[in-house]
């Protein structure tokens, strides 16, 4: 399974490489991967070779113990201790990873935050990587952690993207808490807001329940003010709701709340829970066990939103886990690198349209009903 994020590898790093490198794969022949790139801070050009063959160490090539799935056009990050594929030319859902830092601490966070100041490094990595991205690109995501912590660096990356790709759609996954104050002046320095969609979670129509779910004081009102700013500044917006017992309890009321208070939102995404990160720790609290109730509430919420002409999607939910009338809302939403199917799925006629599972969710032994 190809990994886009770090799977740390034993890297034998020749002495002439003193700085991290971002490079594009120019060819893959047997064990030899040729790359052309730059050092991320000094921006000096570098051509290099990566190999899985420990014997080629003498030629100045970089030895990586683990075999990675790599294709021509992919972009690699070669740090001083680790290598990772940061852009997959075969994938339709690449993401720029902004930072490990976050100012919230959601009970179900699938990417638990770390207190590591990686802002400058990430800017350097992605500023370089964008130059090596293909000539055409329709879509890219920005994730983390919380991207707005990047501040001015985020603006820089966004403007670089929209300049290089005038028709791109950029999804930014953000808690939105800084958009009305700390990041506000930056918001107005972002070019082409129409190309950018802020994907912001709201988990309850009751402010303190949302605050509890995201473990942030006053998060709800900060986020609400943020969404409002994003709308007035001409950006697209999406509200994301991860489905678990706490958000399911008042899901219909939340749908109604959205129609009254965020009627301008372009899209609402109801998302299946990812069984990783903090979710594992809060398993008992979060796991939905009443299937009928879950489907009933989801259906009701969809009807309420659709009645107001708000677009809705179901993300991360296999087709056989919802009744037929809801399947039109399901999307193939799981990033390739963490997407898997149950062994029984291979007899299903709809496998190509189905989101399948998060790789780690298969550990829960879900039952599938091939269509």
């Amino acid at each position: 399974m190809k990994s886009q994020l770090n799977l740390s590898t034993q890297l034998a790093w020749p002495s002439q490489y003193d700085e991290s490198i971002v490079a594009r794969v120019t060819s893959v022949i047997d064990d030899i991967i040729s790359l052309s790139g730059q050092k991320i801070y000094s921006k000096l050009s570098v051509d290099c070779i990566v190999t899985h063959n420990s014997n080629s160490n003498n030629n100045g090539s970089i030895y990586i113990k683990e075999k990675l799935d790599i294709y021509e056009g992919d972009i690699l990050f070669l740090g001083l201790k680790q290598a990772r594929v940061i852009f997959s030319v075969q994938s339709k859902t690449n993401s720029i990873f902004a930072t490990v830092r976050c100012n919230s601490n959601c009970l179900m966070c699938s990417q638990p935050p770390l207190e590591h100041d990686d802002l400058d490094e990430n800017l350097a990595i992605w500023d370089t990587a964008i130059d090596y991205m293909p000539e055409n690109m329709d879509y890219i995501g920005i994730t983390g952690g919380e991207p707005t912590i990047l501040g001015i660096r985020l603006t820089q990356l966004l403007n670089k993207l929209t300049t290089k790709y005038p028709n791109i759609l950029i999804d930014i996954l953000s808690n939105g808490r800084r958009l009305s104050v700390q990041y506000l002046s930056e918001l107005h320095r972002i070019h082409k807001p129409y190309n950018i969609k802020w994907c912001i979670p709201i988990y309850s129509d009751v402010d303190y329940i949302h605050d509890y779910i995201v473990q942030g004081n006053n998060a709800f009102w900060q986020t609400t003010r943020g969404l409002s700013q994003v709308y007035s500044a001409g950006f697209q917006s999406e509200i994301r709701i991860v489905l678990h017992t706490l958000s399911l309890a008042r899901l219909e009321q939340l749908a109604k709340y959205i129609t009254l208070n965020y009627p301008y939102v372009n899209h609402v995404a109801l998302m299946g829970l990812e069984n990783i990160g903090y979710t594992l720790y809060h398993n008992k609290l979060l796991t939905i066990d009443n299937y009928e109730d879950y489907i009933y509430k989801v259906s009701k919420a969809i009807i309420i939103l659709r009645n107001f002409n708000i677009n809705v999607s179901l993300y991360n939910i296999p087709l056989c886990h919802v009744p037929e009338e809801l399947r039109e809302y399901c999307r193939k939403s799981i990033s390739e690198w963490k997407n898997s199917y149950h062994s029984d799925c291979h007899s299903c006629s709809k496998i190509n349209e189905c989101a399948g599972f998060f790789t780690w969710n298969l550990k829960l032994n879900p039952i599938v009903y091939p269509i």
Binding site: V206, Q215, N218, T224, R225, L260, P263, N307, F308
Partner: protein
Amino acid sequence: MVRADLNIIRKEFRAFKGVEHYRGEFLHLLPFNFHRLKDERELLTSITGDYIIAEAGSVDKIINHRSTLDEPFIHDLIAGHFVSYNPPAEQIDILANRLRTKKGLYEIKPALHIIVLTLRCDHTCSYCQVSRVTENKTDYDLSKDQLNLIIEKILDSQESSITVEFQGGESLLAFDNIIYTVEALKERATVRNKKFKFVTCTNLSKITKDQIAFLKENTIAISSSLDGPEFIHNSIRHIKTRDSHQRLLSSLSIIDEVWSRDYVDVLMTTSRLSLKHPKEIIDEYIRLGFRSIFLRPISPYGFALRLESINYGSEDFFEFYQIGLEYILEKCKHGFDLREQYACIVLKKILTPFQDNYVDLMSPSGSMTRVVVYDYDGNIYASDEGRMLAQNRDFTFQIGNINQSWKEIYQNNSSRNILSHSFTELHAACSNCALEPYCGSDPIHHHATQFDIYGNMNDSTFCKRSKFIIEYLISLIEKGDENSEILRSWIH
């Protein structure tokens, strides 16, 4: 050292806290009001126009015994902007946005400009306060010079998206002036940064293919009248040949042939006879392929009160409305596509955060702020009803004439008088009414019926009707049955 500090901070920050940590101590009230329903339950409305129905005694608990409230109810109250554990300051921007979405900008910016091209008409409807049949064209038609001034006034007005509505009398009798005005406005639209929509009001007793061709080419919608099946329609719409209904049908079939029914809208006048036959009227609308019907009572002004045939009380209208709406909902259940307009307008106010453009139910009142009427003699009125009052020599709602600038017009005493009586927010009774977010101000109605532009709501048929409709529609919505679903689908 720094590392150790970070660990302490991180540990505290990343420790999971229970829900009690995020819920404040004190439950603040946000501005709200309540209306006592007939069964003693309480209809609460917040400043945003959200509503909740609660059992009797709830408001007292919310104000005086907050600790006895149960949690699910508190959650609904929080979501509806009635109460908050967080300091209310956090929500002020958002509440102000909601309020602004509902109320619009407080500006005088008429989007509907009505031009009374002529008073000539081939009908002599008994209730009609304004038309006259006459040969003498010059006395009762707008001249070209006057039209030119009106065109200038339209181009000078603040609003950029304007609907121009041609009225009369019978507007088609002055068809060359329709052509003239439409062409002049279209020509100058781009330069003056205006977008125009056109409508012409006609009884459709006589429309030629050429006229339809012009209307079609310039996308001029038709607003006509259908009061019901022949026996009702003809009892209200009087023409010498006594075949108003038949003529309407003929015209409609020509329009079907040459253009499309999509551009024809019909309104009804409700008479005493109409009140006895709601289902027949609705059946006629369906039979003739109309998808929208507006069940509303006649304006009970001077003229109307003197005529037996159209003089009826509120209770009679309410009964008519209930039978009518329920019949329409039945029809919808059987697959017919018909909506009742009055319900659509009020439901939009109740169920969405938006305002509606219906000028008779707004605060500030739509008269003058959203509509302006240029009469056949060059005088300007705050609304159509205001023009009708002038026929009885009551010029309270005449705000100027076409020789004046907008500034002169809006700053004179008439305009100030009208505007100062146009706000429910400033009215002693309305400002403290829970239904205010769903209602509006109608100074003309109160001036005409009570001779008091301020209006006494205890005695007001406008207030009575508004309360009835709101309570009735909410009761239908709350049932949560198929009717509710149908009504909810009407808000878009």
